[in-house]
């Protein structure tokens, strides 16, 4: 695709700078701003653009009065310049390696060793649970001690409580979210084809994911690129909120105060703001952070592409904001938010204990709450 001023409305930028104010990256990274990037592109082309500071979190798009699709623009520039610009390889490349090994089609399919005896799964169900990369990330980030498979287990528990027996997809691969946003389109296409095949083979109607990145990719990006696959995608928080509403899930409210971090893929990218909040309010008192909903600040990294001292600074700022609400715990609905924010808490360096606040995944908290009364 040839990028020009018409692409993604970039040429209609009026230079108002709302985006730069909304963008968490440009608050801390002096050399990057969405407006500056758009201007640079219009005047000088894409040669000197900073490709990797943008988190594609979508805050800029929300405030833009001219409808500039900045995140998609950034993705397209990355795709275009992939050959000449050095791609980011954080964590010594393990995340990329997992993705591209998955995309090579090797291996006889995922082993589901996280599944325990007491879970009810049903091979012929038309509801599937999309596992995603969590079991692998659990190994990679084991020193952070975020129990990522615990999120999967809680999701299955919640579904079982609601009387849903999900199946797992045979031949499931990485959803390709990271590949898509980093502009690795050949990897993304291969992964997507394999997943669509797996979905087609199993004839499922509903796919439930625990990770907003998966639900956004499967639910919006696949249909955009490959046409409607005839399935519906829901994040576990949406399902659980329904359960709470119609009474199949009964949570007990306690005195605790929680605050909630909107994951960008669930909030701004998929428009799911209320459902996770319903869950949180069913568990305790919800106290919002100053920046919430459409204007929530990103957890600091997408696709594991940005992780440096600059990102750490705003993660600390976000965690302080959460602590400032006086909440007992910070809830989120995204495993990646859990990873990035607990990493920031672990390596707070000279920040002493300022950013410390317990982190919790909404589905884990809900499952714990229900289990407690059994």
């Amino acid at each position: 695709m040839k990028l020009d001023r018409e692409s993604f409305n970039i040429g209609s930028c009026i230079g108002c700078g709302h985006c730069t104010f909304a963008c968490p990256a440009s608050h801390f990274e002096r050399n990057f701003s969405p407006r500056g990037t758009a201007e640079n592109f219009v005047l000088h082309g894409m040669e000197r653009l900073d490709l990797w500071s943008c988190l594609t979190c979508g805050a800029c798009r929300t405030v833009c009065p001219e409808g500039v699709e900045f995140p998609s623009f950034m993705r397209a520039v990355r795709e275009e310049r992939r050959a000449t610009s050095i791609p980011v390889r954080s964590h010594a490349g393990i995340i990329d390696s997992i993705r591209s090994l998955d995309a090579s089609g090797k291996g006889i399919g995922r082993s589901n060793e996280w599944v325990t005896e007491d879970m009810h799964l049903e091979g012929s169900s038309d509801v599937a649970l999309f596992v995603g990369c969590l079991p692998m990330l659990d190994v990679v980030f084991k020193d952070l001690k975020v129990d990522l498979v615990g999120i999967l287990r809680s999701a299955v528990y919640i579904l079982n409580e609601m009387g849903i027996r999900p199946r797992l997809l045979d031949g499931e691969r990485c959803c390709g979210h990271d590949a898509y946003w980093l502009g690795e389109m050949d990897t993304f296409d291969r992964l997507a084809r394999m997943n669509l095949d797996a979905i087609g083979r199993s004839k499922v109607k509903t796919i439930i994911t625990v990770c907003p990145e998966c639900s956004n990719t499967l639910g919006q990006i696949y249909p955009e690129r490959f046409g409607d696959g005839g399935y519906k995608v829901m994040h576990i928080a949406e399902v659980a909120a329904k359960g709470i509403e119609d009474g199949t899930l009964e949570a007990e409210r306690d005195e605790a105060v929680y605050t909630y971090q909107d994951p960008c893929r669930l909030g701004r990218h998929s428009g799911v703001y209320d459902e996770p909040r319903e869950i949180v309010s069913a568990l305790g008192k919800l106290k919002e952070m100053p920046r919430n909903r459409e204007m929530a600040a990103c957890c600091g990294s997408t696709c594991f592409a940005q992780c440096d001292h600059i990102v750490k600074k705003w993660q600390v700022a976000r965690l302080e904001e959460a602590r400032g609400t006086g909440a007992d715990a910070l809830m989120t609905a995204c495993p990646k938010c859990m990873i990035h924010l607990s990493c920031a808490q672990k390596d707070f360096g000279t920040y002493k204990d300022r950013p410390k606040i317990p982190l919790k995944d909404v589905s884990v908290a809900l499952a714990e709450n229900i289990r407690r009364r059994e």
Partner: protein, 136 residues
């Protein structure tokens, strides 16, 4: 054409690589399937590197270093041990047999052991067959 396994052997500079050298100098026979990659220490081998090998056509990967206590960088091979354990878990989760990854300590004087390890590993991979996908 019959299939021949492709093996990548990460050898640490100070022991295993010298061991491989010795095997060559003493004219011991070992299969030509083994492609040696020299690293300064077995602790340098990251899970990502091993997965990359599998992605790009390796059927088996060996990580060879100094015996515990002999590492030139003191604890590099301890790190290698932990990393290989993690990598094996990752492989198992992704549906690749952990048999395809081997960690072994070979000192600079053990040329015969290098040749033998190589021969055994090639046979093991031959028995496992090429690394293929289950769902294409």
């Amino acid at each position: 054409m019959t299939w021949e396994p492709t093996i990548i052997a990460f050898c640490c500079n100070w022991c295993a690589y010298a061991g491989a050298d010795l095997a060559g100098v003493t004219r011991l026979q070992y299969p030509s399937n083994i492609k040696i990659l020299r690293v300064m220490c077995s602790g340098r081998v990251e899970p990502g590197m091993v997965l990359k090998c599998f992605e790009n056509g390796a059927d088996g990967v060996m990580v060879l270093g100094c015996h515990i206590g002999d590492c030139h960088y003191k604890i590099g091979n301890r790190k290698a041990e932990a990393r290989v354990t993690d990598t094996k878990r990752l492989l198992a989760l992704m549906g690749i047999s952990e048999e395809r990854l081997l960690l072994k300590w070979i000192s600079a004087s053990e040329g015969a052991l290098f040749a033998e390890t190589g021969r055994d590993f090639v046979e093991r991979i031959r028995a496992l067959g090429p690394l293929k996908g289950g769902f294409k």
